[in-house]
């Protein structure tokens, strides 16, 4: 299973390295979103700094949708999906591999967006490790749920419109937890302030990664 995971993740990341879709389209889109949020809030810098945690995570969620669309669409042409199914790779490995590739891209996006939030909104980070922990855990959850829903909607003609509708409400706890942890980190709170939310993220990740490992095979068959 782990071998298959590395194979699939490597394949997706190689495609990204050659096409640079996440880097040249999704990341700039995230920055555009940050700028638009700033326009929506007005030029008040203290308001922006206050809203920075939530806006960061909303931008991450939007970027996740795009990254998942991309991850699905690289397999929608030339019968690549059937090829993957015929390849005899372990479905669990396939799921973990695709999730890992999405997660890796999301981490890069989060670094870009995080810098954007700090520079544009003047967000002041007091406890960096809380931010890093929330980003890593949140990314795992987003990648896992996204990959699951991506596989579910893979064969559909209405995929582009249906996927955000299905995925974003499911990811609401990640947004809530991530925002709270960021707020704690910006207020310079103790680790205890964020630990409850970190636990919630761990549970979210564990549930959806486990679900994905178990049901990815049957989902592929039904798509």
């Amino acid at each position: 299973m782990w071998h298959d995971t590395i194979l699939v993740a490597g394949k997706d990341l190689r495609i990204e390295a050659r096409s640079r879709v996440a880097l040249s389209q999704v990341a700039p889109f995230g920055i555009v979103a940050l700028v638009l949020f700033a326009f929506a809030l007005g030029p008040d810098r203290s308001l922006m700094a206050k809203g920075a945690p939530g806006l960061f995570w909303v931008a991450v969620l939007f970027c996740t949708v795009l990254a998942i669309q991309r991850s699905v669409s690289v397999e929608s042409v030339d019968g690549a999906r059937d090829g993957l199914r015929l390849s005899g790779l372990d479905p669990a490995g396939l799921f973990l591999g695709k999730s890992a590739a999405v997660a890796a891209q999301l981490v890069v996006l989060e670094v870009v967006l995080g810098l954007g939030v700090v520079l544009l909104y003047g967000a002041n980070v007091e406890v960096p490790w809380l931010i890093i922990a929330s980003c890593l855990l949140g990314t795992i959850g987003l990648a896992a749920t996204g990959t699951l829903y991506g596989a579910l909607s893979a064969g559909l003609r209405v995929r582009e419109t249906l996927l955000p509708f299905l995925l974003l409400p499911i990811a609401a706890p990640v947004l809530l937890a991530g925002t709270r942890i960021w707020q704690a980190a910006m207020a310079g709170g103790t680790p205890a302030d964020g630990s409850q939310w970190l636990r919630l993220l761990v549970i979210f990740d564990a549930v959806y990664v486990a679900l994905g490992v178990v049901v990815y095979g049957p989902i592929q068959e039904s798509a």
């Binding site: 559909l156 003609r157 409400p169 706890p173 959806y208 049901v215 049957p218 039904s222």
Partner: protein, 294 residues
């Protein structure tokens, strides 16, 4: 006629659609639900006294918790269990899929009613139509999750594929419900200490009020069961209409071929009368819908 046989054998598979006893059960449940609802309305609006604190506003309490109970626990719980049973290979049957779909559809209606009745109560009590209270927020998220389920179901697909896909989405959504609930609960408590939900506002329930509240639960549960059964029946008929129409269209095409072969003779002798024609306008309704569905 052969077309009639083809169609009716498909319909026989569903006892809820075909059997007389099942139809009467649905009717009786429907009537009981109507009577119970009428009683609840009568008790709630005329017999019970107004509350000391809330006045006439308390009367919403006879409806609101019942509606919420049906939507949040009965309907969505049933949908989750049915979806699991569909995915379990030993119990896989389209029955569970249709049951889940019906439960979600009725549940969404009750969920919207929960939010509306809560809002109506919230406006005079809290002063706002919507408060970002933990329960309200998780109820709203739940509604969006299951609206997604219904949207997915509307995507045309083979019944088996659609059933499997929908069952997965129902499971993913159900798993999310406790996580959403806790996150929203903590979000709220961390967000502001004093909640708008003042415990003193909840009326002390006793006597006629308690009975009305209980009757409201029973009545709304009956309404749910009745709506569920009717929706299930409509679901069966919808699926059946799809396959029945295809069968009919095929037969029609085949009959055209036969008519072309015998066309000269038929036209010359005037044999082609109405009873021999394989498909007349309105024939689809007559053939596709079993007795009692019309």
């Amino acid at each position: 006629m052969s077309s009639n046989q083809t169609v009716s054998t498909t319909a026989d598979r569903s006892p809820l659609v075909q059997s007389n006893r099942a139809r009467w059960t649905v009717r009786i449940i429907g009537c009981t639900a109507a009577v119970a609802t009428a009683f609840t309305v009568w008790l709630g609006l005329w017999v019970t006294p107004p509350d000391q604190v809330q006045g006439n506003l308390v009367r919403l309490v006879y409806i609101h918790p019942g509606v919420a109970w049906v939507a949040l626990y009965l309907a969505f719980g049933l949908a989750a269990v049915s979806s699991l049973l569909y995915l379990w290979p030993r119990t896989r049957s389209l029955f569970w899929d249709r049951l889940a779909a019906s439960a979600v559809e009725v549940g969404v209606v009750f969920n919207v009613c929960t939010l509306i009745s809560g809002s109506i109560w919230g406006r005079p009590t809290w002063g706002v139509w919507w408060a970002w209270d933990a329960r309200l927020t998780s109820t709203a998220v739940l509604l969006v999750l299951f609206l997604g389920y219904l949207a997915l179901r509307r995507v045309p697909a083979e019944p088996d594929v659609r059933a499997k896909r929908s069952a997965f989405v129902a499971i993913f959504a159900s798993v999310d419900v406790p996580i959403v609930h806790f996150s929203v609960l903590w979000w709220k408590t961390l967000h502001q200490g004093a909640t708008v939900l003042n415990p003193n506002l909840s009326p002390t329930i006793h006597g006629s009020m308690a009975w009305t509240l209980l009757l409201g639960f029973v009545a709304l549960t009956l309404v749910f069961v009745w709506m569920l059964l009717v929706r299930y029946r409509v679901g069966v008929l919808e699926d059946f209409l799809g396959t029945g129409e295809l069968d009919l269209a095929l037969l029609e095409r085949q009959a055209e071929g036969v008519a072309l072969d015998e066309g000269d003779v038929a036209v010359a002798t005037g044999v082609a009368n109405a009873s021999d024609a394989p498909l007349q306008p309105g024939a689809v309704d007559e053939l596709a819908l079993p007795e009692g569905a019309r």
